[in-house]
């Protein structure tokens, strides 16, 4: 059965576009032109939601935590280059974002990442791409090879692998690795990411595995 994706946007043209892209990707779409419609009980619970941050009745920001609370992963659409709005949406529980104008194929790739995240493996080992994190034994593997990481580097890589390709905000990574008091110490993160890249990237000055989203955060490539 095709999976259902909720599309929340007040612009009919964007909804039509999204429906067409989703259809191409093998999804059914459930359209909502407003926040109220999005929250109306549906016959089938959507597997994911694509939400435009600009809605006429309800702020897209208000919609995110409600959908997230229902266990529906949210992909946010933003027409702003300004990163503050996206960071706020991610902080509220959105799983990822796309900036307009986006590419249909890119949207489908992000959606796949979002949906894969929902179904995790249960052998206690977290995997993404070439990486495997064995949290119980504090071991990180790269293509099956044991990596020699400091405790902070391990925590950082574990957080990224745990993200499985979705973007993790700078603040979220800092909080997870150094604690809530260091949410704004971006220089720590930059330095630690460099150190980690030296250990895992084939070419650290041209990174292919740990990707940066300017002003937002980092994500692990592919998978």
């Amino acid at each position: 059965m095709r999976r259902l994706v909720l599309v929340v946007d007040d612009e009919a043209a964007i909804r039509r576009l999204l429906v067409a892209v989703l259809d191409r990707g093998g999804y059914d779409a459930l359209e909502a032109a407003s926040g109220r419609e999005a929250l109306a009980p549906a016959r089938r619970k959507p597997a994911a939601a694509i939400v435009d941050l600009r809605l006429p009745d309800l702020d897209g920001m208000e919609l995110i935590p409600r959908l997230a609370a229902d266990g529906i992963p949210v992909l946010v659409l933003s027409a702003e280059l300004d990163t503050a709005e996206k960071v706020a949406a991610l902080d509220l529980g959105a799983e990822d974002y796309l900036t307009k104008p986006f590419d249909g194929d890119e949207l489908l790739a992000r959606l796949r990442v979002l949906l894969r995240r929902a179904g995790e493996t249960s052998d206690g080992i977290c995997r993404h791409g070439p990486f495997a994190i064995d949290a119980a034994h504090h071991r990180a593997l790269h293509d099956g090879t044991l990596l020699s990481l400091t405790p902070r580097e391990f925590a950082l890589l574990a957080a990224l692998v745990d993200g499985r390709g979705r973007v993790l905000t700078h603040a979220a990574l800092l909080e997870r690795v150094w604690g809530p008091a260091h949410r704004d110490d971006l220089d720590y993160l930059r330095v630690a990411i460099r150190a980690l890249r030296r250990k895992i990237e084939p070419e650290p000055s041209s990174p292919r595995l740990i990707l940066n989203e300017p002003g937002i955060g980092y994500r692990l490539a592919g998978g």
Binding site: I14, R54, T83, E85, K100, V191, L211, N212
Partner: protein, 477 residues
Amino acid sequence: MSDRLRPGQIFDCGLALAAIGLIIVLGARGVFGLGITATALLLTLPVLWAASRGSALIGAVTALIASVALNYFLLPPLYTFRIHGATYVVTFAVFTAVALVTGGFAAGLRARQDEAARRARGSEFETDFVAEIALASSREDLDRRALAMLGTRYGDARLFTRADLSARTSGLAPLDASAAIWALEHDAVTGFASDVMPGADFRFVSFGRGSQDVLALATERLPSSDAPFLLRVAGHWGHARDHLQALDERRRREDAEARDRTRRALLSALGHDFRTPLTVLKEGLARLPGAREAGLLAEVERLRHLGEDLLASARLDAGVPLAFEPVDLVDTIASLEAQAARQANGIVLDARVPDDLPLVSAEPVMLAHLLGNVLDNALRHARGRVEISCRAEDDVVTVLVSDDGPGVPPELADTIFDPFVSGERAEARGGSGLGLAIAHDLAGAMGGLLTLDRPDDRSGAVFRLSLPVAATRSPPE
């Protein structure tokens, strides 16, 4: 003021003298069988009375008059000022001593009462003063109200500014001007009847350290003991000024923030109105057979680029504050490589970032836009190769973007960063003439600089971006 006789005291003295006269007459006539000793004892009563109502001096004078009268009218030999026998001398001495001691006590008590009353009046004034200046709505209003109140109390109250005093345009006499400057610089009370330059006509009171003006009060009705009180009053005034200034600054800040919010909202709406239809257009064309071959997607991309340049330009013009953060150029350049892969038709991009390049301080999205524009220009003019290299020197990181194209003609070199200036075939190559101008402005807005290197041999163009290094700490392990 307290040394002078008040009308009440004159009346009291008269009463004491009348009582002395009456007692002398009664004693001289021997009425009620009064002896000399009893009369002398009785005479201590008016002396005590006078001393307690007036001062020690009045007490002493009354005592002198009483003892002289006793001596003249009652002590033998009568009607002379001579004295016989030690008893009378002792009586007289005790008599005078009692008058002086009593008078002294009474006067001290009175002085304390006077001081307390004056303080009460002062504190009442202080309360009124604080209430009055609390009503002030602006700095000017505050000064006007405070001066009016002090003027009522002290006759003449004025303000002199530090600038006027140092430029000698205050109109004050030299001594007064010196006293005023002393008050300003030492945060003290100076001038008339104070410890510093007491010969001045005015009393000067400082508003506290760092104040730019000084309060001057006319000399009338200005007791020297008022100095602490005046400093307190000036302190209240100074605090009110600070408070108003803080309010003013907050109002200005809030206004500026409201303006920023409005601008941000407008820019955001503009961006939305531009990017949303573009999304539909782009995706729609991508589905259309033959659109890519016909170059339609490239046209949309060109349109997008132009729109982004205009939006960035609008954002710079609006003066919306930038959010700087430490940026790793490795990340920025990685995104450029992705751009080149999409854009370059067989042109090789060789980007090299040293391992230990310091982080730069920049707005990451703007920095990507800036370098994207420079790279876009290089890719459009290169023959086969574009190089990006970075290096750090002191507190500056330099990014060089060079191509192997024809280079910038000398006649264009000076205006290359002006809007709508393009190289010869730029139009045909898809340049809008805005990209480098906006890149230049973006660099400036981020505290950096974008310049054109001028190699002698015109072997391609080299653009040089310098950016400030970001403060970087090693993360704790």
